[in-house]
Amino acid sequence: MAENKSDVLQGTLDLMALKTLESMGPVHGYAIARRIEQVSDNGLTLNQGTIYPALLRLQQRGWIKAKWGTSETKRRAKFYSLTRTGRKQIDQETENWERIAATMARFLAQSN
């Protein structure tokens, strides 16, 4: 078990989930977790479970909504989708994240 697996910057996971929902449309929690793992190409190892508090956070802010539905494999699961506010919010959050990343990059470059 890699140490501090879940210790990912809070906003990171939120934005990843938002972006996933934007590209995939309504999906359940497992699919979001798998998608994040695949896209990050196992460069980011996180406990899949941590996706759920993140999803709850997004729900509480009204950016995504959840509904029980049935998967292709006929399994009952909770499906998440973007709300209109959430869709608008993605650009803003992306911009925020890029600014932080750029700052961080500059900072690291200088320190070296």
Partner: protein, 882 residues
């Protein structure tokens, strides 16, 4: 505004947490299932697929916990959890829970109940806005023994003009008017007031308006009516202002209606302008006003007294003929109005405070005992990693749960007590005195008691939580810890407080009881009374003495012949209605009196059967007979007090005296009757003389008989119609007023004694119950705590009886100490109360004995029951007990 949305979502989640928990479980299960499914597809064996799925997910419980923290209101949820835990704990010690809840309930309930009654009967009627600076100003003529005399108008006007200490002065003159022209004539008490009196008192009509200074002139026919009259006579008509009422045959315009309960100065129903005439304004020899003043802000009553005494000296100099030796006295209005009940209110109010203290002490003791008992448990939990804050929170939650229960019970008790309290209110004042739940006072009481409970719980818990090692090593074996001492102090203090409260309330209650049942000198039962005030103005025939005598004779003749009537008699003033009047006399053969001393004797004018009607006992000689009117020698009947005062060693019958006026004839004593309490029960009877109604002596017209007393068989009030018709058959225009039974009349005047006696009784019982409960709780708790010690002592061979005796003895040592302290306090309290005590001297044993017995029994039971239980179990088990 994200945070509002988040908060709302959290709140809704808190409310639906059970359903959401199931929801989350389902979602997570689906997640694992998806993962297993995918792993199986990739060719893993089933067991491995499952393990891998769970590993990828991470700690399920951890995630759930994080999720829950994010989802609901963690703070509230932990309180909720604590609450549930506390309820479980309390179910394990129902005795403790019951003691705390009952103590709080009783304490809060009793306080509110007593307060509501004191407030309704004693405080609210006196609520005058400017109360603090209001005083009544009297004339005083110490040389002839006159204190608190009503001032003459010209003096009042001079005071008002010359003083700098009052922001305003107002005056009042009491009168009796007959309401005419609207059915049956009725007499009512009227106050003629200056236009500034109501603003001075800080009150105003609640309907209509006060009259203006312009309207305070002779000939102005405007009137303010009481709320009672507004209800009864005008059916609470909101348009009553402007209507006309006929008073003494004149039309008056109603200007306004005074607030409920306002009957200032005593029992007034109408207020008219004082309207001093020009002649009145110069009058210094006729003293009939009641004068009130409002002190300027910052002026003390002492400086007001100084200035008024200076003004009096100036007036003495300017008007020597009328004002020689005349000074003033100033008395705070509240003191004047409350009279004797001022101290009673103070005692009741302090009683409420003491009751509150006892409640707090009870709860405090219980809380500390509880904390001490849980010290070991707390220590174990701290050692196992519970945070101290968590423990404190739990302790406080427990206290809070109990406080909510106790306060709830207190409110229920208070609500339930309201009808009982209304029952306490005497019938005669029930029209306006409504005890009501006062929510402010209720809130205050709850806050005080609950704060005390929380404070002591905090104190106890923090002590338990901060020294876990000590507590663990000692366990509950440390029986001599500080808490034990604190508990003993609380028990002792509580016994002392209770003793003081009980002796004070017992003595006061007892003395009010005695007052209410004192011998009045007459028998008020089975007597109908009413008033026929004969008009003596120039136009009426009753101006003539003979016409009045004829009226009395004819009325009495008819009344006496009514079936069921035993005796009927007229008097100038019935006992308890009016102090009457007095005059100075000269005793024949007595040495002349030193300058400044006079023989002042009360007087009344009666018809022959008056004494029989009231059952005033004849001691010696005879009372009047019908033929006395023809007798040329004026005859007089005196009371025992007068006989003892002036002829202490001789027979009074046959002795003579006259009015202190050389022209008047000598009067002969024909009989001696028993002393009657004329003014009230507390005041001892003074020397008194009775004259016959049909002997025209030089007695002022004011002293004509007006009150009729009829002794009957059966219910007096049922004779009202018959007696009234007998009167109207003699004179159809004669108003009849004040129709009531003598018992009712007396009860009205004794209302406060009866009420206060009941109140103090109620109070004593509540206090006694509370302390018995508290002492029992504290004692039994501390004994239970020493179960181990009992086990050790019995294991070491001590006999069961010895153990029991030692515990009871320890209990009684506390009782004794408390009683000694209480006795000292009681002596002090009794000294303070002496002026209020009637017929009881010192500390009455009978009063002290019963509460003492109850306390002793409570202490004995509290020590005995738990000790017996502890001593009856196997010593080994007791040793292991926690």
């Amino acid at each position: 505004m994200d945070w509002i949305r988040i908060l709302l979502s959290r709140c809704s989640a808190f409310l639906h947490r059970r359903r959401l928990d199931e929801d989350l479980d389902g979602e997570l299960r689906a997640h694992i299932d998806f993962a297993i499914e995918e792993n199986l597809k990739s060719g893993m064996p089933e067991e491995q697929a499952r393990t891998a799925a769970l590993r990828a997910f991470g700690g399920v419980t951890q995630i759930k916990e994080t999720y829950r923290l994010q989802r609901g209101l963690p703070f509230l949820e932990s309180i909720w959890r604590d609450g549930k835990f506390v309820l479980r704990q309390l179910r394990k010690s129902p005795g403790f829970a019951a003691a705390v809840i009952l103590t709080l309930g009783l304490g809060i309930g009793a306080n509110i109940a007593v307060y509501s009654l004191v407030d309704a009967v004693l405080l609210r009627p006196l609520q005058l806005k400017n109360e603090k600076g209001l005083v009544q100003v009297f004339e005083e003529r110490p040389a002839i023994g006159l204190t608190k005399d009503t001032p003459a108008p010209a003096n009042y006007l001079d005071w008002k003009r010359r003083n700098h200490v009052f922001s305003d002065m107002a005056a009042l003159d009491g009168d009796i008017f007959t309401i005419t022209g609207n059915g049956r004539p009725e007499e009512v008490e009227v106050a003629g007031i200056t236009s500034n009196l109501l603003p001075l008192l800080g009150t105003q009509p609640f309907l209509g308006r006060n009259f203006t200074a312009e309207e305070d002139k002779p000939g102005s026919a405007v009137v303010l009516i009481s709320a009672g009259m507004w209800q009864q006579r005008y059916g609470s008509d909101p348009n009553v202002v402007g209507r006309t009422i006929h008073l003494n045959g004149l039309a008056y315009r109603i200007l306004g209606v005074m607030p409920f309960g306002f009957t200032f100065p005593d029992r007034s129903e109408l207020w008219v302008p004082l309207s001093l005439s020009t002649a009145d304004q110069l009058e210094r020899d006729s003293h009939f006003l009641q004068v009130y003043g409002l002190l300027r802000p910052g002026v003390t009553i002492q400086s007001a007294r100084r200035e008024m005494s200076d003004i009096s000296l100036l007036l003495q100099h300017d008007y020597p003929a009328t004002n020689r030796g005349l000074s003033t006295s100033i008395i705070p209005l509240r003191e004047q109005l409350l009279g004797g009940s001022r101290l009673a209110i103070f005692v009741l109010a302090s009683g409420v405070v003491v009751l509150l203290l006892i409640t707090c002490a009870n709860v405090a003791g219980l809380m500390i005992a509880r904390a001490a008992n849980r010290q070991r448990e707390a220590a174990v939990r701290v050692a196992l990693g519970a945070t101290r804050l968590g423990l404190l929170r739990q302790g406080l939650t427990e206290c809070l749960v109990l406080s909510i229960g106790g306060s709830g019970l207190g409110v229920l008790f208070a609500l339930a007590s309201m009808p009982v309290m209304r029952h306490f209110v005497p019938e005669t004042i029930a029209a306006w005195a409504h005890p009501e739940l006062n929510w402010t006072v209720l809130l205050f009481t709850v806050v005080v008691t609950v704060t005390a409970a929380l404070g002591f719980a905090l104190f106890g818990q923090s002590a338990a939580a901060t020294r876990p090692q000590e507590a663990l090593s000692q366990g509950s074996r440390g029986s001599t810890d500080t808490r034990q001492k604190l508990r003993s102090t609380l028990v002792t203090g509580e016994i002392a407080l209770t003793t003081i409260l009980l002796t004070s309330t017992g003595l006061l209650g007892g003395s009010f009881w005695k007052l209410a049942h004192a011998d009045l000198g007459f028998n008020p039962d089975s007597v109908l009374t009413l008033r026929t005030e004969l008009p003596v103005s120039a136009q009426t025939r009753y101006r003539e003495f003979a016409a009045r005598v004829s009226f009395y004779q004819r009325v009495l003749d008819r009344v006496e012949h009514l079936p069921g009537v035993i005796a009927a008699g007229y008097t100038t003033f019935l006992p308890f209605t009016n102090p009457g009047g007095s005059t100075t006399v000269v005793i024949q053969g007595a040495p002349s009196l030193p300058i400044g001393k006079v023989n002042d004797v009360e007087m009344r004018v009666v018809t022959p059967d008056y004494f029989r009607a009231l059952e005033v006992p004849l001691v010696r000689g005879r009372t009047f007979v019908e033929v006395d009117g023809e007798n040329k020698t004026p005859l007089v009947v005196i009371n025992q007090r007068m006989a003892q005062q002036y002829w202490p060693n001789d027979e009074a019958i046959g002795r003579q005296f006259r009015f202190d006026d050389p022209g008047t004839p000598w009067m002969t004593v024909v009989g001696v009757v028993g002393d009657v309490h004329q003014a009230n029960v507390e005041t001892p009877s003074r020397a008194e003389m009775y004259f016959s109604y049909d002997q025209a002596l030089s007695i002022p017209g004011y002293f004509k008989p007006r009150d009729l007393a009829v002794r009957v068989a059966g219910e007096p009030v049922s004779y009202t119609n018959a007696v009234e018709h007998a009167i109207w058959s003699v004179d159809p225009d004669q108003p009849v007023s004040e129709v009531q039974s003598m018992r009712h009349l007396v009860d009205t005047r004794m209302v406060n004694y009866v009420l206060e006696a009941k109140l103090f009784t109620f109070f004593s019982i509540a206090a006694l119950l509370l302390s018995a409960l508290g002492i029992y709780g504290l004692m039994s708790y501390s004994v239970t705590r020493r179960t181990q010690e009992i086990g050790i002592r019995m294991a070491l061979g001590e006999q069961r009886e010895q153990v029991l005796t030692s515990f009871i003895a320890a209990g009684f040592r506390l009782l004794l100490l408390g009683l000694v302290l209480g006795a000292v306090g009681s002596v002090v309290a009794t000294r303070l109360l002496r002026s209020m005590l009637y017929g009881i001297s010192g500390i009455g044993w009978a009063v002290g004995a019963l509460p003492l017995l109850v306390l002793a029994i409570s202490v004995a039971l509290a020590a005995y029951l738990p000790a017996r239980k502890a001593a009856s179990i196997d010593p080994m088990q007791a040793l292991r007990s926690e």
